[in-house]
C-alpha cells in the first residue's frame, strides 16, 4: 500500500517537473502527419511549412 502511494507521488512529481520543463519559448511544431491532423479535425487552422535540407 505504502509502495503504491509512493509510486503515485513519484508520478505526480515527475509530471509536475516535466510540465515545468516544457519549452514554452519554442514554436509548437506538431510531430503528427498532415493526414492524421486532418482526421483528428481540431477545428484549428493548419499551418504547413514546406522546406528542404538544401
Amino acid at each position: 500500500m505504502l509502495l503504491s502511494i509512493f509510486k503515485i507521488l513519484l508520478l505526480i512529481l515527475f509530471s509536475l517537473f516535466s510540465f515545468n520543463c516544457e519549452d514554452k519559448d519554442a514554436y509548437p511544431w506538431s510531430m503528427d502527419s498532415l493526414d492524421n491532423i486532418i482526421v483528428k479535425n481540431s477545428g484549428k487552422m493548419i499551418l504547413v511549412d514546406f522546406e528542404t535540407d538544401w
Binding site: I46, L47, F50
Partner: protein, 325 residues
C-alpha cells in the same frame, strides 16, 4: 525562418493558441506527394489549411516576424483569401481590377489556368470599354509574363509601342527584355543597355544577359565583365548587398576572372558582419590568387564556426594539397 520568425514570442503565442503547425520535408517521405498535391514551387512555402485540409491561402518566401504575423491575422480573418475574392467576384463580375486581384491570387497559388482565364476577361473588358491605356495593358502584360505566357506578354507590349501609347519606351524596353529571354540572343539588349541611363533597366538587362551567357558557357569573359558591371550598379544601402557580392566573388572563382575585384567585393561584404559562407568565399578567392596561407587561415575560421560542415573540411584539404610552402 527558424532563426527569427518562428522564434518570435508573438508568433509562438499566436501559433500555440490558433494553429496546428507541421513541417514537411518536400524531398523526403510523403513530401514529394504533398508538394505536388498543393502545387508547391519554391521554399519556404507556408500553406494555411482549414481543418479539412482545404487550402485557405499561402505565404510564399521568407517573411520577417511582423509581416508574417500580419499575414496570419489577415488569413485567419478571411481578408483577400481566394474564397473571399471569389465571393466578391460572384457579386460583381464586371470589375477588371477585381479580375486582376484574382489573377495575382491564382499566381500565388500556382493555378495557371484560372489566372489566365481572368487575365483574358480583364483584357477583353479593357478592349470593349476602350480603356486600352498604358497602365492597364502593361499591367496585364506583366501578369502574362509571370504565368509563363511570354509570347502573349510580348504581343501586348508591341501593341503599346505600335500604338504609341504614353510610356511606350517602357513597353519597348520590357518587350526587348522578354524577346531576349525567348531568343537567347543578347546583342540587341546589350546595345540598348549601353545607351540608356535608367539604372533599374540596366540591372534587369545585365541579369537577363548574364543568365543567358552563363547558360551557354561560351563567353566567360563577357559574363565576368557584365557581372562586375551589374554589381557596381548597387549601392551600399541595398538590403542584400553582402549576398550579392558574395555570389559575384564565388562566380569569379569559378570563372577564374576578376579575382582581385572578387577579393575587394568579398571584403566589402564582410564589413556587414563576419558571415561564415562569405568567409568561405574569401578563402576560395585567396586560394585562387595563390595566397594559400591566408586561405588556410580563413578556412580554419569557417571550420571553427561550423565544425560539422564537410565542405569546409574539403576546402581545407584542397588548400593543403596544393600548398607548396
Amino acid at each position: 525562418m527558424d532563426n527569427d520568425t518562428y522564434s518570435d514570442k508573438r508568433i509562438i503565442k499566436y501559433a500555440s493558441e490558433n494553429l496546428i503547425s507541421i513541417k514537411i520535408d518536400a524531398e523526403k517521405g510523403s513530401g514529394p506527394e504533398q508538394k505536388k498535391k498543393y502545387r508547391v514551387r519554391g521554399y519556404p512555402t507556408i500553406l494555411l489549411l482549414d481543418s479539412f485540409g482545404n487550402e485557405i491561402d499561402r505565404i510564399v518566401g521568407y517573411r520577417p516576424p511582423d509581416e508574417f504575423m500580419a499575414e496570419l491575422v489577415r488569413i485567419e480573418s478571411g481578408t483577400n483569401t481566394l474564397s473571399s475574392l471569389q465571393s466578391k467576384y460572384l457579386r460583381n463580375m464586371d470589375d477588371p481590377s477585381l479580375e486582376l486581384t484574382l489573377v495575382e491570387k491564382y499566381i500565388d497559388l500556382n493555378v495557371k489556368d484560372s489566372a489566365e482565364k481572368h487575365l483574358k476577361n480583364a483584357l477583353q473588358y479593357y478592349e470593349q470599354e476602350n480603356e486600352f491605356t498604358f497602365q492597364n495593358i502593361f499591367n496585364i502584360s506583366q501578369l502574362y509574363y509571370r504565368i509563363g505566357s511570354v509570347d502573349v506578354s510580348i504581343e501586348l507590349l508591341d501593341k503599346i509601342v505600335e500604338n504609341d501609347i504614353d510610356s511606350s519606351e517602357t513597353a519597348y524596353f520590357y518587350g526587348l527584355l522578354y524577346k531576349t529571354k525567348v531568343s537567347n540572343k543578347v546583342d540587341d539588349l546589350l546595345q540598348y543597355v549601353s545607351i540608356i541611363d535608367n539604372i533599374e533597366w540596366k540591372k534587369l538587362s545585365y541579369w537577363q544577359v548574364i543568365r543567358i551567357v552563363k547558360k551557354s558557357g561560351e563567353d566567360p569573359d563577357l559574363e565576368a565583365s557584365l557581372y562586375l558591371k551589374a554589381v557596381n550598379l548597387y549601392d551600399k544601402n541595398y538590403k542584400y548587398l553582402p549576398s550579392l557580392l558574395n555570389g559575384f566573388a564565388w562566380r569569379m572563382t569559378e570563372l577564374g576572372r576578376n579575382l582581385p575585384k572578387a577579393l575587394e567585393k568579398v571584403n566589402i561584404a564582410l564589413e556587414y558582419g563576419e558571415d561564415i559562407p562569405i568567409l568561405d568565399t574569401k578563402a576560395e578567392v585567396l586560394w585562387k590568387l595563390g595566397r594559400t596561407e591566408d586561405a588556410l587561415e580563413i578556412i580554419n575560421k569557417c571550420i571553427q564556426g561550423d565544425p560539422n560542415k564537410k565542405h569546409y573540411q574539403d576546402q581545407k584539404a584542397k588548400f593543403l594539397e596544393n600548398n607548396n610552402i
